[in-house]
């Protein structure tokens, strides 16, 4: 048997001790330690549900369950650019993306979902699409007959598709019974302020550049003075 292992990340980019400051350094550090410890405990503790059913012996969670559990903790933490605390597009909305991939098996192993606006934990949708899609791909698909009550026919299932976008992805999320939220759930003032500040800086600098008659190379997606999440 192999010793279970785990590593997590919360983003990379133009992060400097000066722009982060001591308080936020401590906040990020303690969040990372808490999340990695919780997730590692989950990964190395036999799942309780198995204890109740006498037939099956208690089993350790799979890498898929542990990795997606760790990411839900990161998505729920407003410090990190995902889920609650996600960044905004130029138009001031959140568009979320997620993916999972496992190392074993030659059938469908990797899935991506994108353009999400109402799924509380996008990583759980990616996990469901991988789990269902694999069944469908191998002909063992479960008939999804839980109508979402929106008067439209259910999406048959994720099939063997690898990358699913927007409304169809969100319809699948409803069919899989995942938690759906209003887009305002993802809002945090810090991300909104970064969004507005970067657009204003871009506008100011473009006016300066136009005034000087040089081409604008300014972008509202990155700053040399502060860390703007790049994704």
């Amino acid at each position: 048997q192999v010793q279970p292992r785990l590593i997590i990340h919360g983003g990379a980019g133009n992060i400097t001790p000066a722009s982060l400051g001591p308080e936020r350094y401590v906040a990020y550090r303690s969040s990372l330690l808490t999340i990695v410890s919780k997730a590692h405990t989950y990964l190395t503790t036999p799942t309780q549900s198995n204890y109740n059913s006498p037939s099956s012996s208690s089993k350790l969670p799979s890498a898929l369950e542990a990795a997606t559990y760790a990411v839900t903790l990161l998505e729920d933490n407003p410090l990190f650019n995902s889920g609650h605390g996600a960044v905004f597009t130029r138009d001031g909305i959140n568009e979320l993306e997620a993916s999972v991939m496992v190392s074993r098996g030659q059938a469908k192993r990797g899935v991506g979902v994108t353009g999400l606006r109402h799924v509380r934990n996008p990583i759980l949708l990616a996990k469901k699409v991988l789990e269902h899609g694999k069944d469908d791909l191998l002909g063992r698909g479960k008939k999804l007959d839980n109508n979402t009550g929106d008067g439209e026919p259910d999406v048959p299932s994720a099939q063997g598709h690898t990358l699913i976008h927007g409304p169809t992805a969100e319809k699948l999320a409803r069919q899989y019974g995942l938690e759906m939220v209003d887009p305002s759930y993802f809002f945090t003032q810090k991300r909104w302020d970064e969004h507005v500040r970067a657009l204003e800086r871009e506008k100011r600098e473009q006016q300066d550049l136009l005034g000087a008659g040089t081409a604008s190379g300014v972008s509202a997606t990155w700053s040399k003075d502060e860390y703007l999440p790049q994704g």
Binding site: V2, R5, L6, I7, I8, H9, G10, G11, A12, G13, I15, T16, Y25, Y28, L32, L33, V36, S37, H40, L43, L60, S62, A63, L64, A66, A67, A70, V71, E75, F80, N81, S82, G83, F88, T89, I93, E95, L96, E97, A98, S99, V100, V102, S103, R104, T114, I123, A126, K127, L163, E194, A198, L199, T221, W222, K224, L228, P229, Q230, G231
Partner: protein, 220 residues
């Protein structure tokens, strides 16, 4: 972006990644996170012998039948030694193919940073490809892509340091299972992988003794 890479007791590695994307991106822009091979990758393969076996100070691992040692070039040794916390020398041994060892290697990686640059070099898949087809340790392969002066940074050309081009980091896990000719497991090794080419990367992991680490910079 956030990500997690887990190795379970069955030896399966899973990578999970989630993001809000790039600040002030165009609405409708798709990043590397949901695209297989760009922002994430996991695979398992088998190879003859155990080319990435770690040797301390050149002593030969008793697992290996004596065979001509293919000594690495000094540059590659320096690269590997620079990437690893302790002075390991990799001296792959040409394996006597009759009754030799076979190795099953698994890898999973999750990326974060300027997604358009990750697309350009298919960053996550490239880590796996370098490890698999050069028979290099995954820790070296990851640094060649996400480390300072790696493929990601090179992809920015003269735009490096402007608008975040080429910036990013990757975390991952590798599992190596070595079997003898009868298929018995003679050794398993797992490795935490991590590197970045920019100011910092928020990351945390648990080592083999169960100790938790959190880092943002190189030596904090």
């Amino acid at each position: 972006t956030v990500g997690a890479v887990a190795l379970d007791v069955e030896g399966v590695i899973c990578v999970a990644t989630s993001t809000g994307g790039m600040t002030n991106k165009l609405t409708g822009r798709i990043g590397d996170t949901p695209v297989v091979g760009a922002g994430f990758w996991a695979e398992e393969w088998t190879e003859e012998g155990d080319p990435t076996s770690p040797h301390k100070n050149g002593s030969r691992n008793p697992l290996y039948s004596p065979g001509p040692a293919v000594v690495l070039s000094d540059a590659l040794k320096r690269l590997i030694a620079d990437c690893l916390p302790s002075p390991f020398l990799y001296t792959p041994t040409l394996q006597d193919s009759s009754g030799g060892l076979t190795t099953t290697r698994s890898i999973g990686v999750s990326g974060t940073g300027n997604g358009d640059s990750f697309f350009r070099v298919s960053a996550a898949r490239t880590v796996g490809a370098i490890a698999r087809y050069s028979s290099l340790p995954s820790v070296v392969a990851l640094t060649k892509v996400a480390g300072p002066s790696g493929e990601l940074q090179k992809s920015a050309d003269d735009r490096w340091g402007k608008a975040g081009e080429g910036e990013g980091g990757i975390i991952g896990l590798e599992l190596v299972v070595v079997r003898d000719a009868s298929g018995n497991v003679v050794e398993t090794r797992s490795d935490i992988l991590q590197d970045y080419n920019c100011g910092g990367m928020f990351r945390a992991w648990i080592d083999e003794e169960g100790v938790a680490y959190a880092r943002i910079f190189r030596k904090d």
